[in-house]
């Protein structure tokens, strides 16, 4: 990533004017991408999209946004690159440990009263969040009763998630966050180490189903007791946020829980009255009855 930033800095030196992408052109590009490939980015945060596309312009040495558009529409492989550019997969294990702690305190006790339960984790990226959840449920002794549907629209990320292999250099940070999230025993019991990577334990994988689902174009997934969707809605505009929240609301069974990212809120959405707040700061909500 650092390399990439440096390359971009170097290239920026040679640019006469900044690659400025007018909103009109961006919208046309997104329309065409949707028509041609069926991926709908039209209601994503344009500021974020523009930043990614500007980087791609610089990296591929294309000066004109119109040329990038033409290449994207003509060349499927190049579109795949763009697709990866536009899907931000940064993630961690036990990101925001306070959330997992709150989940333990508020949600797990309810889950323990169910003979079986389903969790839908939308936007699972490369799987770190999913394995974190599985570890937590295992610790609480209820993983066997649960089924985790982990979905994302990025097939490449899902493939990595299924593999469950992560660089060893990240484990120290993950372990620290695991303990801050209330994790007890040694973190190392959940994976086997290889040279420079670790492989997540098979027992965690048993109750996870990774599959493709696009929150912008697909519908209700399945009836579940819990929806977890963190750090995805910030990439959407209000329209798309509302669409996703509708799907979550419909998917949730009676008194189901909805968990969002630390800076995502229901406050501005049309769904704020459908949920009650369980934990304000940790963004845990619960579907109201009726």
């Amino acid at each position: 990533m650092n390399n990439r930033a440096e390359i971009m800095n170097d290239m920026a030196v040679h640019l006469k004017a900044p690659a400025h992408i007018p909103d009109r052109e961006l919208q046309r590009f997104l329309d065409q991408v949707f028509d041609k490939y069926g991926y709908d980015f039209r209601n994503y945060s344009h500021a974020s999209l523009r930043r990614r596309l500007r980087h791609r312009l610089m990296l591929s040495g294309i000066d004109d946004f119109g040329d990038l558009e033409a290449k994207t529409l003509k060349n499927r492989q190049f579109f795949n690159t763009i697709l990866l550019d536009l899907s931000i997969t940064t993630t961690e294990m036990f990101r925001d440990p306070a959330f997992f702690m709150a989940f333990r305190d508020e949600v797990v006790p309810v889950l323990k009263t169910y003979p079986s339960f389903k969790i839908w984790q939308a936007g699972c990226s490369t799987g770190q969040e999913t394995y974190s959840l599985a570890i937590l449920l295992q610790e609480e002794g209820i993983l066997d009763r649960g089924l985790i549907y982990a979905t994302d629209f990025n097939a490449t990320a899902l493939e990595q998630a299924r593999r469950g292999v992560y660089p060893t250099e990240l484990i120290k940070q993950y372990a620290a966050q695991f303990h801050r999230a209330g994790g007890k025993g040694p973190f190392s019991q959940y994976f086997t180490s290889r040279y420079d990577s670790v492989l997540m334990d098979k027992s965690l994988r048993r109750n996870i189903v990774f599959s493709e689902h696009n929150l912008a174009t697909d519908g209700v997934f399945s009836e579940v007791q819990i929806v977890i969707c963190r750090n995805v809605l910030i990439y959407f505009n209000r329209t798309l946020q509302d669409r996703a929240l509708s799907i979550f609301h419909q998917s949730l069974g009676r008194r189901g829980f909805l968990c969002l990212g630390a800076k995502e809120s229901l406050l501005l959405s049309s769904h704020r009255r459908d949920f009650e707040v369980v934990r304000e700061n940790e963004r845990i909500f619960r579907k109201k009855t009726g």
Partner: protein, 217 residues
């Protein structure tokens, strides 16, 4: 105070006096500020020198440890007359309010002048990154943006300030000699031609001059 403004033209050349009338073409709808090491104090000094009626929104990217949380917002608000708050995703940007990027999130500006947060990878090892804020604000406000780079021990903000200049905006850099850490102001001065190089305590008065003039115009 006009006399005290320093104008820098071209790379590395400082001109000591602001030519009369230089401010006439500064028209701004927003201000972006970037700071790193030593920044909380520097930002606090600027924001606390602005009146409650300050007519522009101010967007701030301060490198901060993720665990610091919203503490800095509370501390800052206590000292300031203008409203200080954490930037909230998809909230409209209002004049007279300073929005601080939350720790561990980039802060961006949408075309409809609302805010967006993102967890994109770090840029210049930083999240929030000053470059990210500056570039996205520049695309929206174009020439009507003032970018300010303050103290810091890295080079975040330099590319962003260059972008602001290329879009016709105004660039202010804290005089490296008065900065707690001079690397960041120096990197900004290296990267682009800057309109004003000012000691910290002169920055708020300069903003008031520019904005005051705009209101009379």
């Amino acid at each position: 105070m006009k006399e005290s403004l320093e104008k820098k033209r071209g790379k590395g050349t400082h001109k000591s006096l602001l030519p009369p009338g230089i401010q006439k073409d500064i028209q701004a709808d927003a201000i972006v500020i970037g700071a790193s090491a030593g920044g909380l104090r520097a930002i606090g000094l600027i924001l606390s020198s602005l009146p409650a009626s300050f007519p522009l929104p101010i967007l701030v990217a301060q490198h901060i440890h993720p665990d610091m949380n919203s503490l800095s917002v509370t501390l800052m608000q206590e000292k300031c007359q203008i409203q200080v708050q954490e930037g909230i995703d998809k909230e409209p940007i209002n004049a007279g309010v300073a929005y601080l990027a939350p720790p561990n999130y980039h802060l961006l500006v949408e075309c409809d002048r609302t805010l967006s947060l993102s967890v994109d990878e770090r840029v210049n090892f930083a999240r929030p990154s000053i470059d990210v804020l500056f570039e996205s604000a520049s695309e929206v406000f174009e020439s009507r943006l003032i970018g300010i780079v303050l103290t810091g021990a890295n080079k975040d903000g330099a590319e962003g300030l260059k972008f602001i200049k290329a879009n016709g905006g105004t660039a202010i850099v804290q005089d490296p000699n008065t900065a707690e850490y001079d690397a960041m102001p120096k990197a900004a001065l290296e990267a682009t031609s800057v309109d004003f190089v000012l000691p910290l305590e002169k920055i708020a008065p300069a903003l008031l001059t520019v904005v005051g003039q705009r209101r009379q115009a």
